[in-house]
Symmetry: C3
Subunit: 273 residues, 3 copies
């Protein structure tokens, strides 16, 4: 069933507008092409509204935000919202600086995100930062482990209910939740943490999956997470002596390029809670 989601990306070839950081932008573009989408990058405030209007989805990543690109995020987000486009937020480094925390919180106030993807620290920061009197329970541990899983699942569902977005919390165990259901995903390899930007790549890919699967946003996000994790496993199986993180990076993108629905369905490891 998740396999359909990637097949839909390949059929639909969604055009994705990315306002993303300059560290991993090239990999985001190549991953979007690998999974069957098509990337455009633009962060200039006077350019983003036109660009987002011709796209199907918008991926906002605050990894190397600046005063100009922040304005671009707001203007693109508002325009994409008017057009009812898919909009994803990747709050890179929320909690690490006031500017990042405030920018993520500010964007969440003005823009209705279809999905939010980050690590547990970033998502907790958003949940606390956007806290109201009836705010979600952000009393969740710093890492999602088998021991802390129940609390983390509840946290993800609650935050999804509060925001109306699919919440994807990625780490050793990945959680993808809406208000009712949470995919607990156990694909991937720890060595993926030794490559820069697998999270950014996933956010770009997830945006494409969302656009190509309009009736099934939760499944689309889960399928994107499984695709990335499974690609990490397949790529690891192709590593040879002397290879390291540069080769691993390339092989992961290659594995996404070669992923089909059948392979994804066979390799996806998840339960729904």
């Amino acid at each position: 069933m998740l396999g359909n989601c990637i097949e839909n990306v390949r059929k639909c070839v969604p055009l994705i507008h990315n306002i993303t950081n300059y560290v991993t932008v090239n990999d985001v573009a190549n991953v979007l092409l690998a999974c069957g989408g098509s990337p455009i990058m633009s962060d200039e405030p006077d350019d983003v509204e036109d660009i987002t209007a011709i796209c199907g989805g918008l991926n906002i990543n605050i990894g190397t935000l600046n005063s100009r690109s922040i304005e671009g995020m707001y203007r693109a987000g508002r325009r994409a919202g008017e057009l009812s486009h898919v909009i994803l937020l990747d709050p890179v480094g929320a909690g690490a600086s006031a500017l990042r925390t405030n920018t993520a919180a500010g964007l969440m106030k003005e823009i209705r995100f279809t999905a939010i993807r980050g690590n547990i620290s970033e998502i907790r920061t958003l949940a606390l930062g956007s806290g109201t009197t009836k705010g979600v329970d952000a009393d969740v541990a710093d890492a999602v482990t088998e021991d802390s899983l129940d609390g983390a699942v509840k946290f993800a569902k609650d935050f999804a209910a509060e925001t109306g977005a699919v919440i994807a919390i990625t780490g050793a165990i990945d959680l993808v939740a809406d208000a009712e259901r949470c995919y607990v995903i156990r694909n991937g390899r720890p060595e993926m943490g030794r490559i820069t930007g697998t999270g950014c790549q996933l956010s770009g890919m997830m945006t494409a999956f969302l656009v190509a699967n309009p009736g099934a946003h939760l499944e689309a996000c889960a399928a994107a997470v499984c695709t990335m994790g499974l690609a990490g496993e397949i790529a690891w199986g192709r590593m040879q002596e002397g290879d390291g993180n540069a080769t691993y990076r390339n092989r992961i993108i290659d594995a996404i390029y070669n992923m089909d629905g059948q392979t994804l369905d066979a390799g996806a490891k998840y339960e729904i809670r």
Copy 2:
């Protein structure tokens, strides 16, 4: 004969100033090094005039333009023009946003470009945008195919005549034209479209070929286009099971690195109309 053009790049080691997008900039730099040139990147208005003065050519790519870098493009372009340097325009996304269309058109009014390289949509946008009463015939189809080839060749020659630039329109069939002659080039592989930035890479490389071949600008551009396409073919021949677009990207750059004049002459597939 085209083979001489790449040999001249390797002898001359032209230093190329690139104002280019942050998506593909690393690949542009490595392709310039692969073909025998040397890259410098600078887009700050207060920096570009000094930098362009020590270079042989200037490559302007508007792929992630912003208000600051646009000013950098104008200042670098004017200075390079005063110095009679080679100047190339890659109008990425012209037609997709007003800012991109207007920036490309504005640059063309102030700066005399040696060459302009883009896809058919971008080049059509420029031709229409710069249209005067005696404007070129831009009534050309959206893709250059065997059926639309005659019209596209005429369009390329007419736009070359109007602008005084070599016009390179890349796609499944590539056209490289001055006012009199048009190279119709059939190198390359469709899978190159699944890699981000092969166009940007080509623009960087074409600038180096132009600098190293001052008496033969049309041939220089055609040689650069054939080099990129042939590298795509050679690289495809080295692909193994499980490889995808990340590996293909690396192998294309590797193939450029290993390209010599003899290989290029043997593999270039073109006719002159």
Copy 3:
């Protein structure tokens, strides 16, 4: 003994704040991960103080400086200085434009750098630009060769004495000096010059080595230089027919990923003068 330095990086996992150019930033991030460190990138003036405060070291690279990021460099540098963090300067292109020369000189006036890494031209520019009546002797040739080695070693030591920084001058022969001692290092391959950004990568890695080896800054810098050069040698040994600079780039990062203290001690080629 240099081998301990990389082992310390792997134990310490230093978090490095990079204000670096957008050409090579992805490789800098992956090299930091490869050697055992962890990268963060931020250049927005309103973001850098928070970010640098949570890091162990700051790597300032002026390769694609602009008016906004220059302010970011000053603010990050001042804050890192207050916190007694390791701070490294990579003066890319100093001497090639007034803005680059003045920015590097201005930063050196306000910020006490732990180390400065560049090629001989860049370091000479800094030495001349910061010249006072008792300025260092910058009468050194344009390349460090066996013939010019004595003068270059004296120059490096003198400039280290004047600045209080470890001075790393990289080229065919690498010099790493404090006021008293100079490592003369003969690792590396000439083909490394055909890859963009090996210098930038080294600067990022050197910052991590400095943070992880607080009592041995000279050795830490020498170990980073030897690691990069030795990785270039190991990677070259893995090159196959048809490979070029794109594959070489990946294999160098892979070799850093797999480098351990024993391999480094066995392969480091240096003398101390």
